[in-house]
């Protein structure tokens, strides 16, 4: 499954009310490291089992970025039961992303 484009409108339904944990990638077009990480997050999304993956473009969704105190990107947050369960800042390899999710699952 592809990563879901998250917005202020669908965040509640897709993430906070989700019955499975959600890995959310906060990113922006102008951030080089974000663009390195994005394809890896997409790979994780393709193989996701028992969780789903979404991404927030902080340029368009500055309310979400502010709400979750994002001040460094790329930032990955795992939400479980509507709450933040894990967070990681910067480029990390695929196995570390999976580790981050499995901590929460």
């Amino acid at each position: 499954m592809k990563a879901i484009e998250l917005t202020n409108e669908n965040f509640e339904k897709e993430v906070l009310a989700s019955d499975v944990p959600v890995l959310v990638d906060f990113w922006a077009e102008w951030c080089g490291p974000c663009r390195m990480l994005s394809p890896v997050v997409e790979q994780v999304a393709e193989g996701a089992q028992g969780f789903k993956v979404g991404k927030v473009n902080v340029d368009y969704e500055s309310d979400l970025a502010e709400k979750y105190g994002i001040s460094s990107i790329p930032c990955l947050i795992v939400f479980k039961g509507g709450k933040e369960a894990a967070r990681s800042v910067g480029v990390i390899p695929k196995d570390r992303i999976i580790q981050l999710v499995s901590q929460a699952v």
């Binding site: 922006a28 102008w30 951030c31 080089g32 490291p33 974000c34 663009r35 390195m36 990480l37 890896v40 902080v58 970025a65 105190g69 994002i70 001040s71 460094s72 990107i73 790329p74 930032c75 967070r87 800042v89 910067g90 480029v91 990390i92 390899p93 695929k94 196995d95």
Partner: protein, 299 residues
């Protein structure tokens, strides 16, 4: 078995791959994080000949595509050791092992941390190592840059376009950056220089609210309220895993001359991980070519 294993897929490693592949050798790149190396953090590159105004991301992408178009293979694993078995070398990673006739170490360097308490905790909560990534979150806010080299000065210039105030905290009086950039920075009205001083404490519980700065000369301390601290105090290498195969200098860089040869036959060092005076994209690329051709002529 591959002809050449290259550890690190930054500019040096990818250039080495291009040269080796064009010489008809097979290549495996082993990369711990993502290809491109530190350059992916650069918003704009203005000093690589022939490619003015390219972004770091675009540069890395083009270089990667060039290397893979010639047949470079890449695995994302962390190398933990290299073993010399004479004609062959064995590279162990956290998840496996790979064998080749020659190894090029192109492990680069990473940002040097400040070594302050709670630095890790506040990373991403006001402490950042990438102004071009995170500067936008501090629009109209007060921030500080810690450092006085090229990257620190470029970061401060970039931030002063967006932030209400930028403190530049530097342990020396003089800057190690292009004089034209330093002059530009001095002319900015929203920039305050705090020289001969170090950041000695991070303030704030859940997120950064300020820093303590200590003057090196008289020991006086000053508190500065800021919401963002951009750290650019230099780089450090990460070559400890290979210390048994190559000689490291006192800072941990691999001792190898312009020929990129290390003390072990068939093991080469290229790019920022090597002892050298100038660490630039161009010198990384040059090392990649030199190391690859040396490796090719040996196997």
């Amino acid at each position: 078995m591959k002809d050449i294993i290259i550890i690190g897929a930054g500019p040096a490693g990818l250039t080495a791959a291009i040269y080796a592949l064009r010489s008809g050798k097979s290549v495996l790149l082993i990369e711990a994080k993502s290809y491109g190396g530190q350059i992916i953090n650069a918003a704009k590159i203005d000093n690589y000949p022939g490619l003015p105004n390219i972004s770091g991301f675009e540069f890395a992408q083009k270089l990667y595509e060039q290397a893979t178009s010639f047949g470079a293979e890449i695995v994302y694993e962390t190398a933990v050791s290299v073993e010399d078995n004479g004609k062959t070398k064995l590279v162990r990673t956290k998840s496996g092992e790979h064998e080749a006739k020659a190894v090029i170490l192109a492990t680069g360097a990473r940002n040097k941390p400040m070594g302050l308490s709670r630095e890790d905790k506040l990373l991403g909560k006001g402490v950042s190592y990438c102004a071009t990534c995170d500067g936008m979150f501090f629009r109209k806010k007060e921030v500080a840059v810690f450092g006085g080299g090229r990257i620190a000065v470029e970061d401060a210039l970039f931030l002063s376009d967006y932030c209400s105030k930028v403190y530049v905290i530097h342990s020396q009086m003089r800057f190690g950056a292009a004089p034209s950039d330093v002059e530009k920075l001095k002319a900015r009205e929203n920039v305050e220089f705090v020289l001969e001083s170090n950041v000695t404490a991070l303030l704030g519980e859940e997120k950064l609210t300020g820093i303590e700065v200590t003057n090196k000369k008289d020991g006086s301390k000053r508190k500065i309220n800021i919401s963002g601290l951009f750290v650019a105090i230099g780089q450090m290498p990460d070559n400890g895993a290979f210390a048994n195969m190559v000689e490291l200098d006192e800072k941990g860089y691999i001792a190898a001359g312009e020929s990129c040869l290390t003390k072990t036959n068939g093991i080469y060092a290229a790019g920022d991980c090597r002892t050298k005076e100038v660490r630039q994209l161009t010198t990384a690329a040059a090392d990649g070519a030199v190391a690859a051709l040396a490796a090719c002529s040996r196997i």
